[in-house]
């Protein structure tokens, strides 16, 4: 056996790693240090760190409406995606296997129609007939749901495929549970990981979405950030940093949940009492 030597691996990891870390550091510095770039040196590196810029922006009376708008849009989109997909994917797996290919292809179409084309098409189709979609804030929700469709469908599909669905449903139904009870007490607990993954990803997409909301002139968090950059660059940078930290925390929590998930470890089936 030849012994494996590690020669080029570490340099690659370190260089690529630096490429990923430096922008984050630069962003943090920009957001929190009040020292002009030209004066930054060994002596000033630790001076005048403050979160005043971030605080100013957060207390700006346009920030909170934009922030909470994005959060609300995220929550409503998650609910819509789940309400739309959970029954559909359940039915596909339970009774209508033959329709799965079609449903899957349809879900993947969203990758072919980029957000900019989607918003152009939607405003072209409905601006005159259903102006609500273009004018109202919540008109963004169906478009965001379309953006989430491909990965949401796939995640739930994989989740359902890991269950012995017929046994679960038949057992539950023959014990006298209604469809509603079966859904609430048998299926949802067993699909917890898939549902949480879908929700987190969808929420992360919505809270960072810019193309659609900016074209429809909506005041969401990302459009606010870009607008605030002109007035208070430091604060806008701080908010962007906050959004990044928030997304990272979401994803880390997600990774932890996935690691514990029943689908990846064993075939155990959990039924809440």
């Amino acid at each position: 056996m030849n012994k494996r030597r590690t020669t080029w691996e570490w340099p690659v990891i370190i260089v690529v790693g630096a490429f990923f870390i430096v922008p984050m550091l630069a962003m943090t510095r920009f957001a929190m240090q009040r020292v002009p770039m030209s004066l930054l040196g060994r002596k000033t590196i630790f001076s005048r760190w403050t979160i005043r810029g971030l605080m100013n922006t957060i207390s700006d009376d346009k920030f909170q409406p934009a922030f909470f708008m994005s959060v609300r849009l995220g929550i409503v989109t998650v609910l819509l995606v789940l309400a739309l997909l959970l029954p559909t994917v359940l039915w596909l797996h339970l009774r209508a296997m033959r329709w799965k290919i079609l449903a899957e292809i349809v879900s993947l179409l969203a990758y072919v129609v980029p957000p900019i084309a989607l918003v152009v098409g939607v405003s072209g189709a409905y601006r005159d007939t259903v102006p609500w979609i273009v004018s109202s804030n919540y008109g963004l929700v169906p478009l965001y749901a379309i953006l989430c469709l491909p990965f949401a469908y796939r995640t739930l599909d994989v989740g359902f495929a890991a269950l012995d669905l017929n046994t679960l449903v038949n057992a539950s139904r023959s014990l006298g549970a209604s469809w509603q009870q079966t859904f609430r007490k048998v299926l949802i607990p067993n699909l917890r990981t898939a549902i949480l993954t879908t929700s987190f990803l969808a929420f992360a997409v919505v809270i960072g979405e810019f193309a659609i909301s900016s074209l429809l002139l909506k005041r969401t968090l990302p459009t606010y950030m870009l607008e605030a950059q002109g007035r208070e660059p430091q604060g806008a940078m701080g908010v962007a940093l906050l959004l990044l930290v928030l997304t990272t925390v979401l994803f880390m929590a997600l990774g932890r949940i996935q690691k514990k998930s029943p689908t990846s470890s064993s075939q155990e089936i959990r039924i809440t009492p």
């Binding site: 962003m27 930054l40 797996h93 152009v120 098409g121 193309a211 074209l215």
Partner: protein
Amino acid sequence: MSEVDFLLGFPLPQEENVIGGPVGSRASTTFGRWSPSLVLPLLPYFIFVGLFLLVPTVVLFTKAFRPVTGATTSAMVEAMNASNRSSFMFSLKISFFSAVLGAIIGFLFALAASRIERPRRLRNLVTGFSGVAANLGGIPLAFAFIASLGAQGLFTRVLYHNGIDLYGAGFKIYDFWGIVVVYLYFQIPLMLLVMLPAIDGLRPTWREAAINIGASSSQYWRRVGLPILTPSLLGGTLLLFANAFSAYATAYALSSGGSRLVPVQIRFYLQGNTITGKGNLGYALAAWMVLILLFVMIGYLLLRRRAERWRAA
């Protein structure tokens, strides 16, 4: 935020029994028998997608094939005139370079991460981080790079003090190479997520077999390893291409809305449509984008199918 990256943007549990698994029921084994009660529960989904994805796409194409005001040819043809064609070339070139560079670096990154054994947590760290970074994009990413590679950026200044004057050499964060470098931030991790499973699929026995019949390590890679990985590599590159091609927010924020990228042009035509009467041009540009992405995604799906051939169940 770039959208295509979600296709493989986050590691999912392995998929089994996609079609015809043990769960399928007898009632649906023939196409002919689709009683209303069977299809009815699927209607909300198909109606929703029809209303918000298919109808808009059809409208997009119908409007794209109409002529712009004062012209006789359809907007689809008009959209390929000199100035628009140059912005398509700009978009395609950016997508191409960021995809190829992202694919090469991402592959090396994945290979390195899979070969380093000593701190065992490194691999988890790298994949976990890639899951986040591949989904990053939009405004925060643009801000991060303005802070590091902008004219007053941290890294720009560090280079300047070491005798390298980026901006003196003509580099601009919102220009071609600037955008390519920024896009690499989500392209490299996406490639890693695509390639790690493929690299893990190379079985040690193949390597041992090659070594046993006298192959050197480089021969093994040239004759066995790389050929097996080729479909994954090409497929990953196409995915990255599509990812960059449909991205919008980052470039828009980098350039304060002045970029020549196709999506930014579309916005320009649509917002000015009442004045210029060229609204149909926006539709046509968007329609061209859909067509290009359609080709790329079909290629990606075909290559992915081919890549799965070596992954025995």
